[in-house]
Every structure is written in C-alpha cells, then in structure tokens.
Symmetry: C2
C-alpha cells in the first residue's frame, strides 16, 4: 500500500525531485545520531541541522532543560524540513528521559567531554554498534547527568592555546569523521526499506501543495 | 644570541607558560596554511582563527578586496595573538599578489570550489608538498582569479539536500582532516629551529609587560 501511495504522490512532483529523494535516502543513516543539550544560540542550532543533513544523519535529539532550541532558517537553509527531530522538553530535567529512550533503542551513549577514560576521535570504534553523540551548551558544556551516565567519552585532539571549539564546529568535526568511517565499513548503516518508504511519503507530503486532500482522494479510490 | 634572549625573557613568565609555549611550538606547522578571500562575518573570521590555533596552523593569509576582515574576540578567544596573519589589502584586487607570494614560497594552491578536476577531501594527497587552502566569501565563494589559477580543487563530499557548509565549518573540516593526515606522515611538517626561536621571542614579548624596556636592558648588558 505504501508503494502505491508513493507512486501516486510522485505524479505531483518533478522527476528530478524524486531522483534527489532517492539519492539522499540511500545515504541516510540512523546508525549515527546526535543529541543536543540546551543549545541556545540560533546560529549554532541551525548550523548543526545543516551539518546533519549534509552528512546524511537523519535523527536529531533536542533536549531543552532551560534553553529553548531556536532555528535560524537563513543558516539552516531548509535542512530541518528533511530531518527527524525528537524533542525532550516536558520535565524540569529532560536528559534522563533522552538517555533512557536512546538506550532502549540500543544506542551507545557518547559524551563529548573531558574524562579519565576519554577516547580520541580518531581512535573511536565505529563498528561496535550504533551510537548517539551528546553535545552540551555553549557556556557550560554537558550536564552532570550525561557526564555520569555516558558509555564512552570522546575527545577531539587539539594542539594550540585554545582548549575548545565552537559548538557547531565540534559537531561537524565529529560527524564528518565518524560518518566517513561508517560509510567505509561493511556494516548495516543504511535505513531499512520500511523507514525509507515512510520518510519518502513524509517528504512527498511536505513537497506537494494540499497533499492532505490528494491523499484522501487516493485512499478513497483504493478502499 | 636568540637562545640567551629567550632565557632572559623566560624569567618574567611562569614555568607553566613556558611549558605551554614549548608544547604548542612542537605542534605548530607551516606545511598547511589557509587563505581567506573576503570573509566579512566577524563570527566566521573569528571561528577560523580559533580553529587554526587548535590544529596548530601558524599562518593565515587574509585577502581583503572588498570586505574588511573583522575579528570578534569573544569567539576567537585570544587565538589571533599567537598566529601569524598576512594581510593583502593594498590593491583593488589582492588575490593575484597573494597567489604569487604563496607560489614563490613553494605552496601548492588549493581552491575549495566545485571543478571538473576536483578531488574529494579524503583522497587529497598531503604528502606531495606544502599547500595553502583558499576559502571564499560567504555569499559568492571564491573569486574567478583563484578559480582559474589554483593547482588543485578540493571538495567535501556531501550526502543531503543542503549543498554547502557554513564557512567556519568548511575550514574546520578541511584543516582537521588534512592536518591529522599530515601528523601521521613521516614528512617534515614541523617548524625549523630558527622559526621556533623567533615565535617564542614574539610570544614572550606579547606575554611580558613592558617587554620593550626589558629587551633594551638585555641588549645593553650583552653588547
């Protein structure tokens, strides 16, 4: 039924758009994902979304304990439209919920923070299973909760006077390095057929004007 | 004489500071350098300086044809103090001067721009000799002059809808990847002894209050 719906909806968009969807979908992954804790500067939040799209990272987990996540569309360049954003913002401290939910889905919890057992980015073992990388707020870094509950700790080696990167730079460096490694391993990092179909329907709906009434028509014809 | 001056000046700073200088100097390089053409957003310019310091890149070439390069110190975090900045801003078009000067110093000219003969970042041959990577302005990318006069063209592979990165992200990705590769090759990427001594004197002078009169005293005593 999903295939029929995709075929039906595809009539309403250009052939080039469909080709683009298929190409992007072949490169999308949920093997690597990102969690952002209290990022509040819109230019950082937006640059992160754009970077995720560029590297084929589909899922972004957004934890808002005391800062609201605001996107600057001029910087995000429409990338948020194609990504799956998970929001954690109903409790006072939403980090435990996010960790629990991600652990239940089988993700290794990786904190980008100094630690006695930290691993250098270049030595991180991508093949050991899917993972989520946590990045903290601009001013204070990650919360104690994530620092104490991570499975592994990641460090980007630095050689200068400055001891830290801008947050959007950190995210890009980590995602570039690890997603490149992932693509060169013979592991199952691609989306499953079902996930691809679901995303394609979602993207088609976002692209087509009045998609709701078109889908209703399709459903009526195919009852 | 330089060693004596360094020893003399070292009395006026803490031992930890000297250790930091030595550690940073061991990791500094002029094998990889960066040229920025008309970058005008202070947060981008500043993030680039910070990134260069972090990856041990000593030299930054700043071409100002129609945009002034303005640093936001809150983002640069003092990194510009320790870097060598070369400014090209006396002519209407300063790009030819910059290219000429860098070619004369033996640098391969690398443009980060789409090209029929572009090389993917991961396939770029770092071992072939020292190189300078040119990055263009936020809006229009690199000028035609550099596009036509580069030796090689570099591309960061992307897999999403968005076709470009934020400039500070591009610079960080390229420098991280290529400087990491460089450090793992058995090539001469470190500064020469003379360069290390010169930089150390410069950094000591910047750190010590009233360093000019201290140096005069030293010179008088050692005439």
């Amino acid at each position: 039924m999903k295939t029929e719906l995709i075929n039906y909806l595809s009539q309403f968009v250009t052939e080039n758009r469909i080709k683009q969807f298929d190409k992007v979908l072949q490169n999308r992954t949920r093997y690597v994902t990102v969690a952002l804790e209290n990022i509040y500067q819109p230019h950082n939040a937006s640059a992160v979304l754009r970077t995720c799209d560029c590297f084929g990272i589909q899922d972004i987990h957004i934890i808002e304990n005391y800062n609201a996540f605001i996107v600057d569309e001029a910087i995000a360049m429409g990338s948020s439209k194609w990504l799956t954003l998970y929001n954690y913002n109903t409790e006072e401290d939403n980090t435990p919920d996010a960790i629990k939910s991600l652990k239940n889905k089988g993700y290794r919890i990786i904190a980008t923070t100094p630690h006695t057992h930290e691993i250098e980015l270049e030595n991180f073992d991508v093949s050991k299973g899917k993972f989520v990388v946590f990045f903290g707020t601009e001013m204070h870094g990650l919360s104690d909760h994530i620092k104490q509950n991570a499975d592994e700790y990641l460090k980007i080696p630095m050689f200068g006077f400055t001891e830290s990167f801008n947050i959007s730079v950190s995210v890009a460096l980590v995602l570039h390095h690890l997603s490149h490694k992932m693509r060169n391993l013979s592991i199952n990092w691609q989306l499953e057929e079902e996930e691809i179909a679901n995303l394609k329907i979602e993207w088609l709906k976002k692209t087509i004007k009045k998609s709701d009434s078109i889908i209703k028509k399709f459903q009526k014809e195919n009852q």
